[in-house]
């Protein structure tokens, strides 16, 4: 009986080992850095090997959109230090919530020579998405 239990134990151990390997490989293959705009501007040495996710705010007055080409470009500024900005280019449909001063989360690659972020995904965070806002009523 003991012997057979051992076999089961080994099988279990192998599964757990496999899961561990999968998770580690998953992180090294698919993990992306997340940074603020100013962090990327200061140091972009590591960012060439893998993607990066940044969050920032859309600078008003810089949004251009070509609906035929579905090409969106704008300036994104740091959440804390608004004077730090970079260009963003995104090909795709402009999200409903996207607008001036909205917080966006971008994933893609940063090209330091052009100070441009080529975004593959663009998420616009609607500030009042689910949480009710009472300030609006007071106006």
């Amino acid at each position: 009986m003991k012997k057979r239990s051992k076999k089961t134990g080994i099988a279990l151990l192998l599964i757990l080992l496999g899961v561990g390997v999968l998770i580690l490989k998953g992180i090294s293959d698919t993990g992306v850095y997340y940074r603020t705009v100013s962090e990327v501007l200061v140091d972009n040495t590591l960012l060439e090997e893998r993607g990066v996710r940044i969050s920032g705010e859309v600078e008003g007055g810089t949004i251009t959109y070509d609906q035929q080409e579905l090409k969106l470009s704008f300036l994104v500024r740091d959440l804390e230090e608004p004077e730090k900005t970079m260009n963003v280019v995104y090909i795709g449909v402009k999200p409903d919530a996207f607008d001036a001063d909205v917080e966006v989360i971008l994933e893609g690659r940063y090209e330091a020579s052009q100070n441009t972020f080529f975004a593959e995904t663009l998420l616009a965070k609607c500030p009042s998405k689910y949480e009710g806002k009472t300030e609006q009523i007071e106006e």
Partner: protein
Amino acid sequence: MVTLGNLSQSAAFICSLLAMVLLLIGLMRNDLRFIEAGRRALTGVAVFASMAAFSLARLFMTDNFQVEYVASYSDRALPIFYKATSFWAGQKGSLLFWAWVLSIYIAMVAFNTRKETTRKNTPYIYLVLAAIVSFFFLLLITVSSPFDLLAYMPKDGNGLNPMLQNPGMIFHPPTLFLGYIGFTIPFAYAIASLISGEIDPDWLKKTRRWNILSWIFLTIGIILGGQWAYVELGWGGYWAWDPVENASFIPWLVSTAFIHTSIIQERRNIMKVWNMSLIVLTFLTCIFGTYLVRSGILQSVHDFGATGLGGYFLIFMIVVALGSIILIAESYGDLRTEHSLESLISRESTFLFNNVILLAIAFSTFFGTIFPLISEVVTGNKLTVGEPFFNMVNTPLFLLLLAITGLCPLISWRKSSINNLKQNFMYPFGLAFAGGVLMFGLGIREFYPLVAFTLSIFVSATIVLEFIGGARARKKLTGEVILLAFPKVIWKLRRRYGGYIVHFGVVLVVIGITGSTAFKLEKEVTLQRGGTMSIGDYTLQYKDFNSFQDRNRTVYAATIGVVKDGKAVNDMFTERRYYINAKQPTTEVSLRMSLKEDLYLTMPMIGKNDEITIKAAVNPLLGWGWLGGVFMVVGGIMAIIPSGKRRKAV
């Protein structure tokens, strides 16, 4: 109404405290009268909680915007039935809903056990339940009351987020909650056994219906959430491994594991420590889900914002986790069993492997979800993972799980002989192999889809064999014709066959997910009036554009002509809606569904001169997935229908 709400909440809290005090006195003095009084006080909590819930519903119905919560989630123009659902649109109302449902569940337990108060464990069950429900009411009356007032009376409310103005809103959150909350009951039974020092050998039997019912609700909640995202949010998908989705999926995985090994304990009286730990883990992951949503520590589509409740849930979780670990460790001697798994190739061990894999998926999902929080400590760098991570890690695990689902019924209890294996495996294996070869020939060359479809055939074949085998055995036994024996045996052994129906549902879900991920087509094109685009077998023509006023919104609608394989079929209509109270528009999806594939259209943008951008997607086989969800729920319900003779639920 506001006063009634506030008073009822406080009364519910005091009542739960009173119940605890009475039960403690009863336990110390060994006096049944106090325990009976405690039981009644517990029922009282449900009465007061219902009054509080009624008050909040009434405030929504009467447009009382001085109540901050009502003003935040409703307005005059809101249709009456969404006013009712606004109850759980925000976190304060959700919390009240939670506490209310829990108190009703508890009252049900108190009623069903009214004749069992002399049993040693019963008072402890009440005590644990009273403690948990008092925690929720404490939060409600101190930091998160839905009855807080504004200093003035606004003219109108802020309105309900348009995305929540969808039938999904009625069912998705409450069913998830019903599932989350339901696991409190078996958890209380388990903990009561541990505290009293007398492990009730029947605690699993007594709580089986609670487990499965909660699991059914969780399943419905998750599937409805996926469907809601699919038909309402308009991004063409149904699952994105978002932190809050994961938060609902993790308890589902753990409870699924628990339901499986509790069968083993019932049959063979082993794995007692394991099951005790699993129900604790199920309960903890349910609370973790709530914590994740409320704490704002992670970015999510379900962004409720940080609300300060997170800390309380964190403390609650730590207390529950540490307490449970200590209690299980103390009772370890009583829980240990003489028997253990006897053979690697036995049905028991397939259950064990199923558990390990389910928990591995739960762990990787949990790990990936919280990874952004710990990455800097672990890797020295701020890293995050998303959909690709979960797909990469979980896909092989899911396929392994699917394989075990098929293997399990083929392997006999205790130990399988080689002959027995050969005989059982022949047909399913042969069928699956033939099916795999055929699909390869038809051009499915990618590894995962090929494996997924082949395994789907394998599992379906084993399930069909089980049904046929059962009917044959009954025919032999009773002499009935097979057509009569078939439904009879299913009904008679509905617990077992219900399980197989759930498994078949899982197979359908796998087919749906595989088809719609591996073979999805997607295209975004900007069209002038009259312009056409093509995707898959379809040619789409932008025919017409309209705008009109409708209730609390302005609607822009495009008519799209559809030609499939050269034949014109019904036009499709996709809309953008601008709600009066919302800054951003919503996208109305147009869907053409069939079992073969869905054609999915949205209009994410409207330009000058009625120029529109159309986003079209073809999602093959997705309909199978929704159908699978129905099977899972029906099978689950079948498994808990009580038999007429001994109708006795907890």
